[in-house]
């Protein structure tokens, strides 16, 4: 016998959801894999395994991971101060958090580039103090020569360097961490913190043993979202990175470049690698979270 749910429309809503998901997500993905099939295995390996492409993977995943990590820390602090304290202009700050969401990525890219170029507000400071730092280090016999984009003449170069990629990815990832953490922090019970304190825990112990474990799943979700977004980011990065082959090229840029050369199969091949890697990472992160949750 068919079981009836109290809520009507289960069949209809599920049908619509699955159809919508197929049209918007699954079919394009399938097509991606399909068009890669036109390549022979050797050509596929050549397309996705060239030195230039591998350098872009390293940059993209490395910078995205670091940016998400930094966002996890500072996003936590931002979310905490927005939830816990009532200060003048709180709503404005709250709205500002969404700016990276709302702005066209090209606009953020141009703005960040202008800010970080060697004549920009931030870029000029980095140049000045970067070179001072190098000179100071050399005087004390320390070797800073191995750090890229840092030397005694140009100082620290933010735009048109890997730092630039990192800055752009940090910028666009922040809202994800803050917005996923806010509800979790609001749900925190003040009594629980008082209980920890009454049992003799210091502020740090309370944070480490009580607050952090309760919001950790949300923090992980925020981190994952920021990481995923950074992996696929294109618009804001291409302006600030300078797109130097082997150095500051991100994978998305290589895909676009291949498309512009009508190398569709090559472009989709790289896309498939990105897709698989992203999917694998998301799976690992979500699976660890699932394990952690099941333990409870």
């Amino acid at each position: 016998m068919k079981k009836h749910s109290v809520l009507p429309g289960f069949g209809l809503t599920l049908g619509v959801s699955v159809t919508y998901l197929s049209i918007v997500v699954l079919i394009p993905l399938a097509l991606l894999v399909w068009s890669t099939m036109s390549l022979s295995f050797a050509d596929f390996v050549k397309a996705v395994g060239s030195k230039q492409v591998i350098a872009s993977y390293k940059l993209t995943f490395g910078a995205a991971f670091l940016a998400a990590l930094v966002n996890a820390v500072f996003g936590f602090i931002a979310a905490w101060s927005l939830v816990r304290y009532r200060f003048f202009g709180r709503r404005v700050v709250d709205a500002l958090i969404d700016m990276p969401f709302a702005m066209p990525t090209a606009v953020s890219g141009i703005a960040l580039t202008a800010l970080c170029a060697s004549n920009g507000w931030v870029g000029s400071l980095a140049a000045k103090y970067g070179s001072k730092l190098v000179i100071f280090a050399e005087e004390h016999g320390l070797d800073f020569m191995n750090i890229p984009y840092l030397n005694r003449y140009d100082g620290l170069q933010l735009a048109y360097s890997q730092f630039g990629v990192f800055i752009a990815l940090t910028f666009i990832g922040l809202p994800f961490v803050v917005r996923t953490l806010q509800p979790a922090l609001e749900d925190l019970d003040r009594e629980v913190e008082e209980a920890a304190e009454s049992l003799g825990a210091t502020k740090f112990q309370t944070f480490r043993r009580v607050i952090l474990p309760s919001v950790f799943p949300s923090l992980m979700t925020g981190f994952t979202l920021a990481f995923a977004r950074a992996l696929g980011e294109y618009g804001s990065v291409v302006f600030i990175s300078g797109n130097l082959p082997y150095e500051t090229e991100i994978t998305s840029l290589l895909i676009v470049a291949k498309l512009q050369q009508y190398d569709y199969a090559g472009a989709t091949a790289i896309s498939v690698v990105m897709l698989t890697a992203s999917f694998a990472l998301m799976f690992v992160i979500n699976f660890t979270q699932y394990l952690a949750r099941r333990r409870k």
Partner: protein, 349 residues
């Protein structure tokens, strides 16, 4: 003296939560802070614990075993605090929850893993949750959670135990059982304890002493028998059980209840069980009223009446007495108070 509170004030904006409160709690007693919501009882408990600041006034102080603890944080005061909603750590097991206070110790106070295990096991046995140490709070019933919260507070070997509405979130049966269990536990470990409640039955049944609070001040304190049988104010009498208010005059040494609300009338407070209902009243010592409702389910018979001005009167009597007269709804009977209480101050129920 266990806990001594002197001249404590607390205001929230314009609202006076505590109005110059002073009280003493002797060692080894189980004391109830009883009052309606908004009477300041929880605020007072939190101030004693050190979770809340108070306004320093003339000669205000809080003493634990004759030593001032003003300015000390809750951890330094070494009080076990049990929260109304348990405040258990949801991501930790029963064992971890109880061990928390021992695990966070630092420096010379650190104790070995084996010692922690020994003490926690002992507490788990005390709260009768043997075999449940690896469960998470979500997997426990309300009563079990409250016991874990209690064990967690006891683990730090506190000087005092403070409980904020400890049974407030539990259903009636569990509450009854847990209440008796807590009383037995207190008799066993003799730890000076203060609990906040708005339930007069709970306070009277459980406590050695009851402190009745109202609107930021202490109305009365004493043993349950004292506060119940000798209430100092109409508020206390009303709060510690239902009460009837009758109007009357004293004429030639006898009260005449004419139930009119004339200015010269006096107010008489009468408990429902201290009223006789008689079918006829030849000496005219009571006043007539009509039976509206009879409620027989329970250990006593409860009868609701109304007088000529439709004022409600509540009467309680034993089933034997009820059967003697065979009252029916609609009967007009005479209401004869057997014990009345008069207060000097004016009070409106």
């Amino acid at each position: 003296m266990g806990i001594e509170v002197k001249n404590i004030n607390k205001r929230f904006g314009k609202f006076t939560a505590l109005d110059n409160i002073s009280l003493k709690i002797p060692d080894g007693e189980l004391v109830a802070l009883l009052g309606p919501s908004g009477s300041g009882k929880t605020t007072l408990l939190r101030i004693i614990a050190g979770l809340e600041e108070f306004e320093a006034g003339y000669n205000s102080d809080i003493l634990f075993k004759n030593q001032s603890v003003v300015g000390n944080r809750i951890a330094e005061r070494r009080v076990g605090f049990v929260f109304q909603h348990y405040a258990l750590f949801r991501h930790q097991t029963v064992f971890e929850n109880i061990a928390f206070g021992l695990r966070v110790r630092r420096g010379v106070n650190r104790i070995s893993r084996a010692e922690i295990k020994r003490r926690v096991d002992e507490l788990i046995h005390l709260i009768q949750l043997d075999g449940m140490e690896s469960r998470y709070p979500d997997q426990l019933s309300g009563g079990q959670r409250q016991r874990v919260a209690l064990a967690r507070a006891l683990a730090i070997e506190p000087k005092f135990l403070l409980l904020d509405e400890p049974f407030g979130a539990l259903d009636a049966r569990v509450r009854q059982n847990l209440r008796r269990w807590l009383r037995r536990l207190h008799d066993e470990i003799k730890l000076t304890s203060v609990f906040v409640t708005h339930d007069q039955e709970e306070a009277l049944e459980l406590a050695d002493r009851v402190i009745v609070m109202n609107a930021g001040h202490i109305e009365q304190e004493g043993t349950p028998v004292e506060v119940f049988h000798h209430p100092k104010s109409a508020f206390v009498m009303d709060f510690l059980g239902s009460v009837n208010l009758f109007h009357g005059r004293v004429v030639a040494g006898q009260i005449v209840f004419d139930q009119s609300t004339d200015v010269k009338q006096e107010k008489f407070f009468v408990r429902p069980h201290e009223i006789e209902l008689v079918p006829t009243d030849p000496q005219n010592v009571g006043f007539p009223a009509k039976i509206r409702r009879i409620q027989l389910a329970g250990s006593i018979a409860k009868i609701e009446l109304s007088d000529h001005s439709e004022k409600e009167i509540f009467v309680e009597m034993s089933h034997e007495k009820y059967l003697l007269h065979k009252f029916k709804v609609g009967d007009t009977v005479s209401v004869v108070p057997t014990n009345t209480v008069v207060f000097e101050e004016d009070y409106v129920i």
